[in-house]
Symmetry: C2
Subunit: 373 residues, 2 copies
């Protein structure tokens, strides 16, 4: 047992197929802002939800880009303030959900996101606007975390912002919203959730409840991701995957992530890999490394998941990724030997890398990266 731990996840979780078509009774006040990306607006998903909110004024903001910028946050905030939003609904992958978190605070907190983040010195006061997060991918878990990741366009730095005002009031989980996800997105977001679960499990901040949740999430993913990838309309697999993402989200919301996520930052910003791909490409290597330091715990996990050894598990994860056409070697992303010192350096600059249960320094991280070049 750990010597000490904390657990706090105050968000109310509602799960039901079709829930977003009858969610009116959960929404407070008369003015609602729905924040999404352009795709979910154009394909009618945002409006289908807005149309169910009878008697309320619904405003849409749909200019959220991947890796959302502070400028997008400020633009959405202007709309939220103008519409006097009583409720902000974030709809989408991690980007829209993250933006909805800070916008719901800025409705009643003055100024720009820059006043509170990335060098800003103001402190967010209590949020009074309701915050509802609705994921449309089974991956980020953002609906049950108090973190938003924003990019400062001036400095080109992408940085997480952690704030207890960011816990959504409600996380609405509606598997139907994921039925039309393309297979490649199913694979990469699903493997992102896999990383969340296992990084929480081997984390130096690990705690018993999260260990239990991570084990359950990993089992759900292993049992269902390939089915969801092969047969996107398989409702049972889609439900299992969005629940796995949710559970993995609860787990890493308490522990934070580790080296996998730290190294994903340069692989995304400099080599263009999607977040899930950039994370999972180092996953088998991190399984092997972490198992040297957490041998007993990792053995318990892999036996629970039905594998005979950690080595067999790592191989199976790599085979699973290959079976979904995901890259498993860094050169597939365009990384060359000469890039490795720099990737290691950028990864080591993220504090979370030191939550990996292994000695993480320039030499060891370069060796890990070379092992999968």
């Amino acid at each position: 047992m750990q010597e000490q731990f904390k657990f706090h996840m105050p968000t109310e979780i509602l799960f039901e197929n079709g829930l977003t078509q009858k969610m009116g009774r959960y929404i407070k006040g008369s003015s609602v802002l729905i924040i999404s990306d352009p795709f979910l607006y154009k394909n009618g998903t945002a409006q289908r939800i807005g149309d169910t909110l009878a008697g309320k004024t619904v405003t849409y903001f749909s200019d959220i880009e991947p890796n959302p910028s502070c400028e997008s946050v400020d633009a959405a905030t202007a709309v939220a303030r103008e519409s006097k939003a009583d409720c902000v609904i974030g709809l989408g992958g991690g980007s829209s959900l993250d933006v909805s978190k800070i916008v719901s605070c800025l409705v009643t907190n003055p100024g720009s996101i820059y006043d509170y983040y990335s060098g800003g010195t103001r402190v967010l006061e209590s949020r009074t606007t309701q915050l509802v997060c609705i994921p449309t991918t089974a991956g980020t878990g953002s609906e049950v975390t108090n973190v938003g990741v924003f990019t400062n366009r001036k400095t080109h730095i992408k940085m997480p912002m952690v704030n207890n005002q960011f816990w959504p009031d409600i996380a609405m989980i509606d598997p139907q919203l994921t039925y039309t996800l393309p297979s490649a997105v199913t694979a990469s977001t699903g493997m992102d959730a896999f990383c969340h679960a296992i990084e929480a499990y081997w984390n130096k901040n690990a705690l018993p409840m999260c260990d239990m949740l991570s084990m359950g999430a990993l089992k759900l993913i292993i049992d269902n991701i390939k089915t969801a990838y092969d047969t996107p309309s398989n409702c049972e697999a889609r439900s299992a995957m969005i629940v796995a993402s949710l559970v993995a989200g609860i787990s890493f919301s308490q522990t934070r992530t580790t080296g996998i996520h730290a190294l994903s930052f340069p692989l995304t910003t400099e080599f263009g890999a999607s977040h899930g791909t950039a994370c999972s490409i180092t996953l088998p290597a991190f399984i092997r490394v972490s198992s040297q330091y957490e041998a007993q715990k990792m053995n318990s996990l892999v036996h629970y998941l039905g594998y005979e050894s950690v080595e067999q598990f790592a191989d199976a994860v790599e085979a699973l990724m290959r079976s979904m056409n995901m890259p498993v070697r860094l050169h597939e992303l365009g990384v060359q030997e000469k890039d490795i010192p720099h990737i290691a350096e950028v990864g080591l600059s993220a504090a979370i890398i030191q939550l990996t249960p292994a000695d993480m320094n320039q030499k060891t991280v370069e060796a890990l990266l070379r092992s999968i070049l």
Copy 2:
């Protein structure tokens, strides 16, 4: 996967050995009321905690009896109002914790508990007094539920009261407080936690996160309860047991319990069995019954726990109870054949009995009871 579920457990959990000796920074306001039973007051536990709250006015209320009455609640409320308590700390087993929940609300809500409970028609408004719950047994899980169980002395009826104001702000888990628990209490409260975990697992309201937590809690209990019973000073086993109780509490806080708890009510009130004993005496029988209706799920559980079959598991649980000198047959509590129809009837009057995954009626419940007479 279930078709729908909800999960909401907003309490902040803090776990650390010795935490209650340095908890001042978590306590709000200047006036603190510590509610406990007479034993924890007389042996100095309550005062040792109060003494660490430097600069605050600390008042003690220590007249909490087992199966606390509404009269005790009203007496504690009078003290809380007089001391203008900013924070109410519940310290003890389930009784003190349950009383602290309603008292923290009644500081700012007028009248008696009878106005809100057991026929009362008033509704509790938002609680503004901080509520901190500190368990001293590893069993009830009350520190992470929104339920209090009170006895109406006028009608002699013991009834649960469920209210979202009852979620503690903070659950403080300090294993040290359990080091001196007598072995018999370790056994009965630990088996109560076992029942919470498994009743949440096979519950008709079951949900994925709670299934995962229940599995983990059951493993902790099976691996540690006998050690804690045999060697009360074993810190590792004590930590594991209080965490198991906590996790089982989170689990059943979402699902409620089932037939085991329903039948425990008459066994406690009419045959004087302690709550944990009254629950666990029917546990092996309920394992056998529930497994007929939840065969696959129960098989997954018992294999995870290291057993080959449900039957072997049920036998092992019974042997575990015997090894801790707990009764495993109803006649050991003084129950006779002629009492069985009445016990079944009273058990069936508790709504939770219908959350058992089995056909629960007068005939089936009597048969279950006769099988362990």
